[in-house]
Structures are given as structure tokens and as C-alpha cells.
């Protein structure tokens, strides 16, 4: 499996951990990715709110570069994904748009380059059986709220790898890692996206709603597949707490970071140190890799399970939601010897 990788601007800066974990996971699973040389910004929301021509031409310019590589495109950013697919859709279905794109980019383009999101590639191209077989460290007992956000599944006639209102790809992937995807109603609710810069108060309200609902539904962490979702739920979580009331500390992982952890990759390889809400406490409670250098004494999978107290008692934050946290003392979590 070979892809032309389109990282996008965010993955070079605020979401470098998404880029690193995506590449590490692809390497571990034998997915060959090569960055598109000379790629440029897809234009994102500011372009389609300013100029329809620019919003068409910038993605097409990148697709032309990918066509020269003879590979389908792989993106991780949900916004780049939606912009590239939207441009493809326009060129394929409207001859006028096709001509306009050719005039602005000075090159013909027929819409023939396929564009895929990393989630689509892992779940539908590679397949969950392959992922399951590659898991070295099952994320047993980790309750994850899978948050798709807006642009990964919308509009359905353009992106179309999962259901627009009730997507399940990420949930199935998380289950294949041994973790437990929780059922919750805000999978595709918007986090406010780029209003993060201009109207942080609105984003703060929306993030509070999302994180609170995830906790109410029993999640201990959230998985995302978009740089803006991650920033808005993770970096703005402290603001949300300050402005809208108490909220338990909830780590927000890129889905590729969770996949990488299950594949036995190290926190450094996955850029976990870039997360604002530290996931260390949560990860300590996961079972250690099957082969541990510390030997098997005091392993987390079978020893001292009964002696453990329910874990939300030992957390720094007070659980505010009755249904949140993990009241279930039977989950065999132990202190993982030497993990830190």
C-alpha cells in the first residue's frame, strides 16, 4: 500500500504530534507514505469563505502534484481531507469548474487522484483484522469517546467513507485495539473549529459541552482525527473549565496515537508530550506490553488487581458526574512497574 502524503499546514506546527504518530503508525503497519514534494496550503475555511476560485485552485494544485507521483493521496487533517475531496468532486461533476481550475493552475486536471483519510485507510484499506493482529499491547479497559467532528463525515456525497450522522469507523478501530468505545450522542457535533481564533468564548462553550458529555457517557479520554478538534478540546479544556464549570481532566488523543500505543510504540514516537492534558495517569493504568523488560513480577495484568482501589478515587480531579469515571473496581488495573 503506497500513498502520497499531504500533511497540511497544521501538521507542520500545532499538530506535529498528529504527523509524527501518523507516520509512525504507517511505518509499523507497512503502509508506505511519501510526502508530496512542494505541497501548498489547501486554503481551508478562509479560502472558501473568501473566494470560490481560490478554494478550488489550491487543492487542485496539490492534486496535480500527487498525480505526478502516481499514488492516491493520504491526509490526516480532516479539513485538508474535506477541501481536497470537495475540489475533486467539483472538477468531476462540473465541466465549468474543471475549466476554471485549469485556467487558474495553468494545468489540466480531471479529478482522477483519489483522496483518503488515515482513518479510512486503517479501517477499510488495511482492514481491522490486520490491525488486530499487529496489536502488541491491548488497551484493555480504556473507555474512549470517539469524536469525529464535522468535516470527516460531511457532506456525505463528498467524503462518504462512513455514515454522516452515526459514523462507526473510529469506534471499530478503537475496539480492535482492545479498548472500549463508549456510545455517546455528540460524535459529529462541531467544536467551533476556526472560531478558536476569533471567538474563543463560543469554542469554550462547545468544548465544555463535548467533554462533559463524553465524561457523562463514561469515557476516560477522547479520540479525535482533526487538528482543530484536538486544540479546541485539549488546549482549551482549562478555559472551558474556568468559564463553564467543573470538568474532569480528560486527555484528548489523536486516533493515531492510540493506535501507536496499542502497536507498542513509545510515547516519544507518538509525540504524546505535546498534549496539554497529560495522559500519564491514564496510561499508567493500562496493561504493560506482553514482553516487558522488567520481567513479569508485579505486572499489571494479573497481580494485585484486588488491592487496587477504584481509580477515580485516586485521580487528582473530583469526579463530578455520577455516571462518569470508572466505578467498576473489577477492571484489573495495576500500577505498571517502571513505566515512568
Amino acid at each position: 500500500m503506497r500513498y502520497a502524503f499531504f500533511p497540511g499546514c497544521s501538521l507542520e506546527s500545532t499538530a506535529w504530534d498528529f504527523a509524527r504518530s501518523t507516520q509512525a503508525v504507517c511505518q509499523a503497519l507497512g503502509i508506505e507514505v511519501e510526502e508530496i514534494p512542494g505541497w501548498v496550503c489547501c486554503g481551508s475555511t478562509p479560502a472558501h469563505g473568501t473566494s470560490a476560485s481560490l478554494a478550488l485552485a489550491l487543492p487542485v494544485f496539490n492534486l496535480q502534484k500527487a498525480r505526478a507521483m502516481g499514488r492516491p493521496v493520504l491526509t490526516a487533517c480532516a479539513s485538508c481531507y474535506a477541501r481536497l475531496r470537495t475540489a475533486n468532486h467539483a472538477v468531476r461533476h462540473d465541466p465549468k469548474e474543471k475549466q476554471r481550475a485549469a485556467r487558474i493552475t495553468n494545468q489540466p486536471y480531471d479529478g482522477s487522484v483519489e483522496v483518503h483519510h488515515i482513518l479510512d485507510v486503517l479501517v477499510n484499506h488495511l482492514g481491522l483484522d490486520v490491525v488486530r493482529a499487529a496489536v502488541k499491547r491491548r488497551l484493555s479497559g480504556l473507555k474512549v469517546a470517539c469524536y469525529y467532528g464535522c468535516l470527516l463525515t460531511r457532506p456525505p456525497e463528498v467524503v462518504a467513507f462512513d455514515d454522516a450522522e452515526h459514523p462507526t469507523a473510529m469506534d471499530r478501530l478503537v475496539a480492535a485495539l482492545g479498548a472500549e468505545p463508549i456510545d455517546w450522542p455528540y460524535k459529529t457535533e462541531c467544536c467551533g473549529a476556526s472560531l478558536s481564533m476569533t471567538h474563543a468564548d463560543i469554542v469554550s462553550r462547545l468544548s465544555h459541552r463535548l467533554v462533559a458529555m463524553a465524561r457523562c457517557a463514561g469515557a476516560a479520554c477522547i479520540a479525535v482525527a482533526c487538528p482543530l478538534c484536538q486544540v479546541n478540546l485539549d488546549m482549551r479544556q482549562a478555559d472551558a473549565r474556568k468559564n463553564h464549570g467543573e470538568l474532569p481532566e480528560t486527555p484528548v488523543f489523536y486516533i493515531t496515537q492510540l493506535v501507536g500505543l496499542a502497536l507498542g510504540l513509545s510515547p516519544e514516537q507518538l509525540g504524546l508530550n505535546a498534549l496539554s492534558v497529560r495522559p500519564d495517569g491514564l496510561l499508567e493504568q493500562l496493561p504493560m506490553p506482553v514482553v516487558s523488560q522488567q520481567g513479569m513480577e508485579n505486572c499489571s495484568c494479573c497481580c494485585d488487581a484486588a488491592a487496587e482501589e477504584p481509580r477515580n478515587r485516586s485521580r487528582g480531579t473530583v469526579p463530578i458526574f455520577a455516571a462518569g469515571g470508572r466505578e467498576n473496581g473489577t477492571v484489573p488495573f495495576g500500577r505498571a512497574g517502571g513505566s515512568r
Binding site: 512542494g38 505541497w39 496550503c41 489550491l58 457532506p155 481564533m197 476569533t198 508530550n273
Partner: protein
């Protein structure tokens, strides 16, 4: 809102339909878009109200609303519209019209952000986030919000001090040609 009671020749509907490529006139006011809009509680006009005001030719009410700049383009409305109207594209078209017709913006932050972002792309080929944020802050005068986040972001390697440039000349040419394409014939 007196304007809405006057006879109108449908010029606004036609212009919005041309810019957005979607049939605004098909809206039958079911309000499904407004019900599912995550930003609805913060908007001065709901999306279904905007659709109706476009029908009625109430140009000033629509172009000077804050709502068109608060829309996050999440496309929930577009996905759910039973008439298949691309409502998010209508919002884009109204933003373009508001800039083109120099409407008095009640809240210029969205427009200032778009300009700062695209100027960064035009200069570097890719977004240079630190420069873009500085440019936006100077334009909007909103200098102090989120400055507390900057040290944390720098510490985590999330902001680069230097732009990564790519194909600058081609990108500038595309900006120029796109602007020519957008000019009304």
C-alpha cells in the same frame, strides 16, 4: 426590518444562487438547519431566518448580520437540509457579498482572520501560524487574548519561529488569477 415589507425583484436570491451554486429559493422554512446548528445560540439570526431574508431581498439585514461570520462551516445544515440546499455555501456567498458590497460588519473578526490567513498563504505558500496570529491580532486589535497560550505552545514545539515556504511564485500567480476569475463579468 421595514425593508422586508417592500416589493423586491429577486436580485439578491439570484446573486446568492449564482455565487453559492445552490437553490436558495427551494427553502420551505422547516428550520431543520437552525435546530441542528451548534452556533445557533450565539447567532443574531438563525440560518433559516437568513434563508427567508434572502428570499425577501432584505440585503442589509442579512449582510450586516453577525451570524454569517459566526458560521463555523461544519456543514450539519447542508447535510440535513431536506431540500438539498448547501446552506454552508450560502453562508460563504453572503460573506463574499458582504465584503464586496462593503457592508457594515457588526463584528469584523471573521473577515480579519480570513484576510490574515490568506495573506500568510499568499506570502509563504503555507500558513505561517505565528506570523498569521500576529497579523490577525494587529488587524483586530484583540492583542491580549490567548497570549497565555503562546509560551505553552512554544514549549511544546507547536509554533515555529520561521515560515516554511513552498512554491511561493506559483501560489501568488494562482491568487492573482483567482481574483480575476472572481471579478463579475
Amino acid at each position: 426590518m421595514t425593508e422586508v415589507l417592500q416589493w423586491n425583484d429577486g436580485a439578491l436570491v439570484r446573486e446568492v444562487e449564482r455565487l453559492s451554486g445552490t437553490a436558495v429559493s427551494a427553502c420551505f422554512q422547516c428550520h431543520k438547519c437552525s435546530t441542528g446548528c451548534p452556533i445557533g445560540p450565539d447567532m443574531d439570526l438563525l440560518s433559516s431566518q437568513i434563508m427567508r431574508l434572502v428570499h425577501l431581498g432584505a440585503e442589509q439585514d442579512v449582510l450586516e448580520s453577525q451570524a454569517i461570520w459566526l458560521c463555523a462551516s461544519c456543514e450539519a445544515c447542508t447535510t440535513r437540509c431536506p431540500q438539498g440546499i448547501d446552506i454552508a455555501a450560502v453562508m460563504d456567498a453572503l460573506r463574499m457579498l458582504a465584503v464586496e458590497r462593503k457592508a457594515a460588519l457588526p463584528d469584523a473578526h471573521g473577515e480579519q482572520f480570513n484576510r490574515s490567513f490568506l495573506s500568510s498563504v499568499r506570502h509563504h505558500g503555507r500558513v505561517f501560524e505565528l506570523g498569521m496570529m500576529a497579523a490577525y491580532k494587529l488587524r483586530s486589535g484583540d492583542v491580549f487574548s490567548d497570549v497565555d497560550k503562546v509560551p505553552q505552545m512554544l514549549g511544546k514545539g507547536k509554533l515555529s519561529f520561521w515560515p516554511r515556504r513552498s512554491n511561493v511564485k506559483q501560489v501568488r500567480d494562482m491568487f492573482r488569477r483567482a481574483q480575476q476569475e472572481d471579478e463579475p463579468a
